[in-house]
């Protein structure tokens, strides 16, 4: 391929930034293997964005997104939207006038970095359908499968520095649900890279390190055997798969031999203090891993650290579940993540989201639990240049229905796309020619970015 000169002598007309082309920065990104760190890369890129060079994505502040995934459905009246029908007290936050539940004291100190949306309205009331809806913005449809947000972002934004653009850690517990997080018709290259549980003692990516008995030299010897053995077979046939397998093999070898990917996933490179600051529980360590990954180049990381099938699904003993098991790790992980991203200068380029697939009933059921509630619920979003320290929308007195400014999943998706410089009105064509909205709202409408935020 003919590469243009990587850097020209001339300078940009209105500033002192050397005039660089976008491609050069992609190249710088890949140079991180050879010692140019992500921080420098981003600094150059920011300078470039300020100069207005590059495409929309480069100009956008947000480069990546972390989702703290609270599967099962957190109780909004007990967390983000305190109401009289909750047994938890509201507390004030570092933003005047915004109060959240006493279960989130540490997050309350970072409210300036987050916007609370209290008027989410979605259409599905049971887990499989609602998880699908939250990940894709579409209602499940037997005629086709929709691509998930992370896969779309991978496709729109591309890979950086050889790091998998879309990662889920750990795997969603039920395979049936895991399927809702996939790329579907848009292509296998946008499937999520699935990592094991980062909070496990022996956390390590599968198949990324050669067995002790196999040296790099031995890999070469093995390949020499294969070249010989396969030669006749391959010579006589022209099959596209051969080429694909060769590319994947080269890529795999690069991943195994270079340290970039391994380092990005290597939590042992963090200090014990940092690991404890996030919390040595599933959500804490998966949030920490997410930070490492976006720092290294990932685009969308789903930190799915709450283990078990639908961990937030508090049909029984809602209050003690939230108080004793569920909210404290979230409080710790989310507040630390926001602090840490800010300290590292990554908050401006990283959208942070915490949500589940729906909220929970305003009333308490006979098992002292709360059941599924999609009609009105809350979530938080911040970072990535979005304006924090505000509340968007409002629920009614009991948190049952939207009282002000309904926000749909399509609106949320559109907001994220806009923050990342992606055209939210875009559609993808399925193989049979059905157009699929990237930001699908209810009643077949396209979602609109929340102007309060972006």
């Amino acid at each position: 391929m003919n590469e243009p000169d990587t850097m020209t002598e001339s300078t940009c007309r209105n500033c002192n930034t050397p005039e660089l082309k976008r491609r050069d920065f992609l190249r710088v990104g890949s140079l991180s293997l050879f010692g140019i760190g992500m921080g420098q890369f981003l600094a150059v890129q920011r300078a470039l964005a300020a100069a207005g060079i590059g495409d929309a994505t480069d100009r956008a502040k947000a480069q990546s997104c972390i989702l703290l995934w609270l599967q099962g459905g957190p109780s909004h009246v007990d967390l983000w939207d305190p109401k009289a029908n909750s047994n938890f007290r509201p507390i004030s936050t570092n933003v005047d006038g915004i109060r959240i539940s006493e279960l989130l004291p540490r997050v309350a100190k970072h409210m300036d970095k987050l916007a609370v949306i209290r008027s989410m309205h979605t259409e599905e009331i049971d887990h499989p359908e609602a998880i699908h809806y939250a990940m894709t913005g579409h209602r499940q449809n037997p005629a086709m499968q929709f691509p998930a947000l992370g896969s779309i972002l991978s496709r729109e934004l591309g890979e950086r520095a050889g790091i998998p653009p879309y990662v889920i850690a750990p795997q969603i517990d039920l395979k049936l649900y895991q399927d809702h997080f996939g790329a579907q018709f848009i292509g296998a290259e946008y499937e999520p890279f699935i990592a094991p549980d980062p909070s496990a003692e022996d956390f390590q990516l599968p198949d990324l390190s050669l067995p002790k008995s196999v040296s790099v030299e031995r890999v070469e010897q093995r390949r020499a055997f294969r070249d010989l053995i396969e030669k006749a077979y391959r010579q006589k046939r022209e099959i596209a798969e051969f080429g694909k397998m060769d590319i994947f093999t080269a890529k795999a070898l690069e991943m195994i031999l270079s340290d970039a990917v391994k380092d990005a996933f290597d939590l042992s490179q963090e200090t014990e203090k940092t690991r404890e600051r996030y919390g040595k529980h599933g959500i804490g360590q998966s949030a920490l891993l997410a930070r490492r990954l976006v720092e290294a180049g990932s685009r969308f990381v789903t930190a799915a650290g709450y283990r078990g099938v639908n961990p937030w699904d508090s049909h029984a003993q809602n209050d003690s579940e939230h108080r004793d098991k569920l909210a404290p790790p979230l409080d710790q992980a989310l507040s630390t993540l926001l602090e840490d991203l800010q300290e590292r200068g990554l908050l401006e380029s990283t959208v942070v989201i915490a949500m589940g697939e729906f909220g929970r009933t305003p009333h308490i059921n006979p098992d002292n639990g709360r059941d599924h509630w999609p009609h009105c619920w809350s979530m938080v979003i911040g970072g990535g240049g979005l304006r924090g320290g505000q509340v968007i929308g409002a629920s009614d007195e009991r948190g049952a229905y939207v009282a002000e400014r309904m926000v749909t999943m399509g609106d949320l998706f559109a907001t994220i796309y806009k923050a990342m410089g992606i055209d939210w009105e875009k559609t993808y064509m399925t193989p049979i020619g059905r157009p699929i909205k990237l930001a699908n709202s209810i009643d077949d409408k396209t979602g609109a970015p929340l102007e309060e935020l972006v």
Binding site: A143, A188, D207, L210, R218, I229, E230, E241, L253
Partner: protein, 845 residues
Amino acid sequence: MEPNRKKRHSMTAGIGVLAVLCVIGLMDARGLADDPSGEPTLISLRFLPEGAALWGSGAAQRFMVLGAYSDGLERDVTDQTWFILSDLEKASIDAAGRLTARADGELELTAEVGKVTAKARVTIEGSDEQPPFSFARVIGGILTKRGCNAADCHGGVKGKNGFKLSLNAVHPREDHKWIVEGGEFQVLSDEASGPKTPRIDPEQAEQSLILLKATGEAAHGGGRRFETGSSDYQTILEWVASGAPYGAESGEEPVVIDGIEILPRESVLGPDGRQQLLVTARLSNGRREDMTDQVTYKSNNKEVARVNADGVVEPVKPGETAIMVRAAGHAASARIGVIAQTLANYPEVEGYNVIDEHVFGKLRKFNIVPSQLCTDAEFVRRVCLDVTGTLPPGHRVREFLDDPDPDKRNKLIGVLLASPEYVDYWTYRFADLFRVSNYGQSGSKYAAMYWQWIRNSVAENKPYDQIAMERIAAQGFDGPSRHYYHIGGELPKPPNEMAEQVRVFLGRRLDCAQCHNHPYEAWSQDQFWGLSAFYGDLTRLGHLGIDMVIIDDPAGHGEVGAGQQVIHPRTKQVVLPTFPNGRALSAAERVDLRGHFARWVTEHPYFAEALVNRIWSIFFGRGLVEPVDDFRSTNPPSHPELMALLAEEFKTSGYDLKHLMRLIVQSKTYQLSGLPNDTNREDEMNYSWHRPRPLDAEVLFDAICQVTDVYGEFGGAHNQRRAVNLVAPDLHPLRFLEVYGQSDRMVVPERKNEANLDQALHMLAGSTYNEKLGRDGGRLDRLLEGETSDREIINAFYMVAYARLPGPDETGVLEAMIAERADRKEALEDMVWAMMTSREFAHNN
């Protein structure tokens, strides 16, 4: 068209033909490859259609004349033909072959090109009668011909600009309503939105919106479709003026189109060829009618062939495409092949059975020469993997290769079809298709019951219609009924279950019609819900934690399901079980609903086709229809006659799976070599060479275990050590199987078997490709114990992995590569690694 022109053509052709006729007299038919001038010569003529029965005032039929030439091609010679009618009072014919009826009677039509002739009989009836009006045919025909109801216009799922028409006018009642009543179409509701302004105006017919838009008088996104005053305009104008009837008001049944046929169905064109297509409608009154001028034509691949509005096909570049024809309410297709040049010496290719007759017959027409037959070594590995999912053991390979019996391939096929591995393998295949899993059946106990039913069915070679009956209509507490028992005791939802069974057993995907009429097919949403209602009585008796019984109970005594009334999402009405032809079950018939549904499925003509295609695709890596369960009129089979014939054969054999498989693997088509030749290298869909197919995850894993002779991933008894024998794969997660695309069986499996990054990582660093190689007690370890030479070890592994020995130049290099390494065992392990990760190993080729 002027007669002069046609005469000129026939004169010039005539001279050539005369010369040929002399030659024919001297030679037998086989010797007729070329005439001395090198130009292909005309041998015989035939009419398409072969004859015609015309009915009604002004009835017309277009005739085409095809000439068979000495180069094996059949060419459209209509424009070189003299047409001669035996009776000029009764009909007339123009130069293009369009015959118009004048009076009742019979006559003979003769075609003449030089001295070669052909004859056709024509009968004419009712030449003074007008057929009764039909909105579906007349107005639907115009809307189709003019593209108004095409998928990218008003025929799209959402219609256009509020105006919705059914694609190809497949649902004329609805089209009539939207035109006559007006209103804006909404996809998910039965109600029109917006004011209901009719799109016609009977008082001032020429002011009707439908005419103003179509002629471009009013702004129209679709532009002008026809001129004011054109015959289509006049037809619509008169229809509106007469009150816009539907056509059944008088009580007289309107004549509707039952189906359309295209002639020729298959045609091969040289670089300068052309082909007129003829379209004939089969009418509900039993008559046939020429529709060539009243349909739209579209080439599925314009890079191969183009078609114009009159149905004339012209070649673009070599390849194969379907030409789609759409008429009111119907679609059909013709296959067109384009070849670069005709082969001077097409070899004699002998077939073994009917499969070869069709496959080789088509290859002959397309000027593609099939590859040689595969070697015995290739055959033994291929057929063992395909029939039993197992590599042949090394000693059996040697036995087979050494056997001098000329019938040894058929003998081996017989042995394999009767082997225990056949039962293992096809149990796995059907367990995949029928979705056996721990999750799906709510626990390993029920998954095992369901799996055992499949295994028994395969072992006794149960007729496939019976298998389908049992799976669909299962009642009580038995194996197949566990299919209806999901995790947590959930019952499947009627629409999902119906659509799955139709997809599995009829090869059709109806799901689109759940929410709206199918966008490309004649499946309506009403039909979808009518069929779904056959699952309305599905009920579960018992409580969670005990063995529950599945029944159809209209009274709804069950704990769950209880007469799950099926509600039409658009009309919000309860839907009665109704067959697609509109017949609802009467009150008395409404017992054992799933039994009715199962009979409908198994008696449907699609049933045999769908299974034949499924099995065929397993043996060839590509269905006659592809994707394998997506039969559509817009997705025609590559070999329609073969498909029909195999389906019939399967049916008359009593739905005997082994019979069908035997037919396939005995064919020469199946036994072709994997090496292409110069004529067939580009062939993707005609089975002219044996395309290597990646092995499925489970089969590949078992093959690696077999070659290394190291098992143990799944624990348990001997017969459970293979991945194909896993009852519930979700109880035995294994990274290898996952990265190679094992199905989780949550939905009807669609395996892609594409190379991916995880496979490459696993090959380099994964346990399967590292820990088995030299394990104690494994094949390599034992061979090393036995003081075997490197050459013997190389040969042993080649035999079991590839069913062949290494090439002479390979052996020496391999020996040298091993000899130069300090650690012999390591070197041999690396060789085995290389074999296991090679494409030749991972393929069935």
